[in-house]
Symmetry: C2
Subunit: 475 residues, 2 copies
């Protein structure tokens, strides 16, 4: 790429925004000089200068004469985070079926700017490498790739997953793991294994709508627990709920709740596991985005603190390797044989070739390098999207500061109905996810979730138009 | 292959046995002369002679002086078919969970002779061609292969499936079809879509155990309907059952019931559909083996007679193309949007690359040729296995004469318990499926199902040992 390319400027600006988003440089702090940054990013001084000018023009940094560039605070203060959620105390049936499928169908429309579904950015996926692996496997594996891999699934893949789990504090053996067709199937099987129709499941609020749909399908009642936009589920509220309701399972997205981006601190995860162990309640832990952290180190999984086999850890490779290979897994503790049976009964097996491809990708060692790359990119894209919301949305708007993943949760001025906005946006060629979908009791009618996986010119323009619509609706 | 190879003799003998099994030559009829057969099979006269001698030594044909070779009857009469099933009149909860998983785990053991699971013969699958297709797709498709294909699934594949359905009398549009992760998922989603826990589902008896497991998982009650070993479900009994029970769905394997090998005649399929239409009851139709017919023409699907959108046709490519690509589908009539929602909720999507590979395989035209080949082979293997049962099992044994597919259903002498035999066989390195698994009310304790997909020397020896065990247990 030419040194004077505007794309390069954008890229470097994005990198720097990412460093700020990850907390490497904090509000009010001085960022490295143009010269230092030029060395650090290995680009010319004029490129860094252009990138700093871009960031300055967007209100993210400011030049102070004789001193250097500083991370700006004021605009961030104008867009505070949403507060902790405060759902009602009673469990409720879930029924968001039609609206969910409407939003899902939007994602099939290539003419829309896709801010709706939480799809990973395809350009950040290691597709070339995966395709080479698949081609090689197809050439060399003969009939092996066409042989059923009945539950628990391909042994080589389970070995690789057990090795990776060490990074998240999990002490898993390959025999603890059951391969599933993506993380959604893992969660669905776990819910099915420990609950029967009518049972109550305590969940974070807001909660990813796919999981709410799973509750609806199984006839379960959701008990929404207040959830902090940074630290996740409130243990005090959960304890109260457990003492007053016959809760059969608790479900959390421990690392980077979708849509909040919250991360339960490791010490709190331990407390959560201990609390549930005292009441003998299984914890279904969704960690699908756990590898996409913006901080310095991989947060643990709650499973790391599980001594009673009550934690059912679920994850997948859909967010960081390939959404369409549909490979996920669960380490369901004491419920393993039940999960194997349910997996066999509902879909017999997960496709073999995708399992072989993921196993090979994990084994041949590019995974860590790839993850470092996409963490940087996602942090940067989340920061840019957040800045764009800041720039184009009315000042009463609030937005989360995710610790990982690639979605933003935006609280609109009170008068704005997210379903109205969804419809208006659709007419204007933009899709987003209305807050209605994230609570069975309609806690979030003036919230929207934005997919921040990609940052492009059309996306910036779409946010500008969206901001105009919100301002108009806010009156 | 050398002209004087014993393998070649076996192969030709198998081909001829297949012709007899398919009814091309019937009991008592003269088969073509050695010279005619030599032309027809394009092998030398001495090869045909050797093949005829093999068949004669096995009691399948007999030489009549001055006349030629005839299809023998007597031994066939010694091994009659099992009678029509006669289950009790009441619906019952299903609970065969542990035994089923035990049998499933056997299939993961490469040291056993596999007569248990109904696995297709890997050597008959078009793995080389599929692997070439996969390799080419991986090289050329870029990120496309890693993009979600949310329900209803890959458009190109749905087009191909709709085209194929014409052969079975189905008038499907691509929009009628929802792609699933194998046929088992299709059936499971259909059951889930039309029934709630406690509901009664009428099924053929015996019924494939995976489907019984699906009933168990969803808390449904099975009402077993007497089923004829050739013509399938009894309509009289079904009508009676409908008039006396609040049946919420009927489930049949219309073409080549597993384990019976029965095929509901097309005219009877029409009556079945009309009967259910009068009572507004959905029919879940499993047609996974429909393409593996031994007769002259593809039997229809019941869906062909569906005018009210009540038939939910389910099929897959697991029996004839690849079990491990896990690609199936359903055409669920009026329940389509419900099925799309359930599919999204339980596993989001089916893997994309397998869908692309199957679509390409279907489109590039080798499918018909391939099917002709495997129909011949399966018919031959089923005939050989059947003859081996005839030869090695006690004379009171009865065995089905399947019209397609690749399983045999064997009724053992009354005193023989199939679970005892299963255990004894396992100790001797052989796995089979005990009849217990095919009925929730234990109708078939002295039956076993044998997978007849392959015919090898170890399989023949295993049947000999098995026959010895049965004889011993029969006392």
């Amino acid at each position: 790429m030419a040194e004077n390319s505007p794309f390069l400027y954008e890229q470097i600006a994005g990198n720097i925004a990412g460093l700020i988003a990850r907390g490497t440089y904090r509000t009010g702090e001085r960022i490295p000089s143009v010269r230092q940054m030029s060395k650090q990013q290995d680009v010319s001084i004029s490129t860094v200068l252009q990138a700093y000018l871009l960031l300055e023009s967007r209100g993210l940094i400011e030049a102070r004469p004789q001193s250097g560039y500083y991370v700006r605070a004021p605009e961030v203060d104008q867009l505070p985070e949403p507060g902790i959620s405060s759902p009602g105390p009673d469990p409720s049936r879930v029924s968001l079926h039609e609206l969910t499928m409407m939003v899902i169908r939007d994602t099939l429309n290539p003419n829309l700017v896709q801010l709706g579904a939480a799809m990973p950015n395809l350009e950040l996926l290691p597709t070339d490498r995966l395709n080479r692996i698949v081609a090689r496997l197809a050439r060399n594996s003969g009939a092996e790739a066409h042989q059923y891999q009945l539950p628990p699934g391909l042994p080589e893949l389970r070995v690789q997953i057990a090795r990776r789990a060490v990074h998240a504090g999990g002490q898993l053996s390959p025999n603890d793991i059951v391969i599933t067709s993506g993380g959604i199937e893992a969660i669905d099987l776990c819910l099915h294994a420990v609950c029967k129709p009518g049972d109550i499941v305590a969940i974070e609020s807001p909660m990813y709508f796919g999981t709410l749909q799973s509750l609806e399908v199984h006839g379960l009642r959701a008990l929404e627990i207040p959830t902090h936009q940074r630290d996740g589920i409130s243990l005090e509220a959960l304890q109260f709920a457990i003492e007053h309701n016959p809760i059969k399972a608790v479900l959390v997205i421990s690392n980077f709740n979708n849509p909040l981006g919250s991360c339960i601190p490791d010490e709190k995860k331990k407390e959560l596991v201990e609390l549930l162990a005292r009441h003998d309640i299984p914890l279904i832990e969704n960690d699908v985005s756990g590898e996409i952290y913006f901080g310095d180190k991989r947060p643990s999984v709650a499973k790391a603190y599980d001594t009673k086999g009550l934690v059912m850890l679920c994850s997948s490779f859909s967010k960081d390797i390939s959404p369409a290979l549909r490979v996920g897994w669960t380490a369901p503790g004491r419920y393993r044989s039940e999960i194997e049976w349910l997996k066999f009964t509902s879909s017999a097996a997960t496709a073999t070739l995708p399992q072989m491809a993921i196993a090979e990708f994990l084994e041949t060692g590019g995974y860590d390098h790839h993850l470092r790359h996409i963490r940087r990119e996602y942090a940067s894209n989340v920061a840019r999207l957040s800045q764009a919301v800041m720039r184009y949305f009315p000042p009463e708007t609030r937005v989360t500061r995710p610790a990982g993943g690639f979605v933003l949760w935006v609280q609109l001025p009170g008068a704005v109905d997210s379903l109205e906005l969804y419809k208006k946006a659709l007419e204007n060629g933009i899709t987003l996810t209305p807050g209605y979908l994230f609570s069975p009791t309609n806690q979030f009618s003036n919230f929207i979730r934005l997919n921040a996986a990609a940052w492009t010119y059309p996306i910036e323009r779409a946010l500008e138009r969206l901001g105009g619509m919100v301002a108009e609706m806010a009156g």
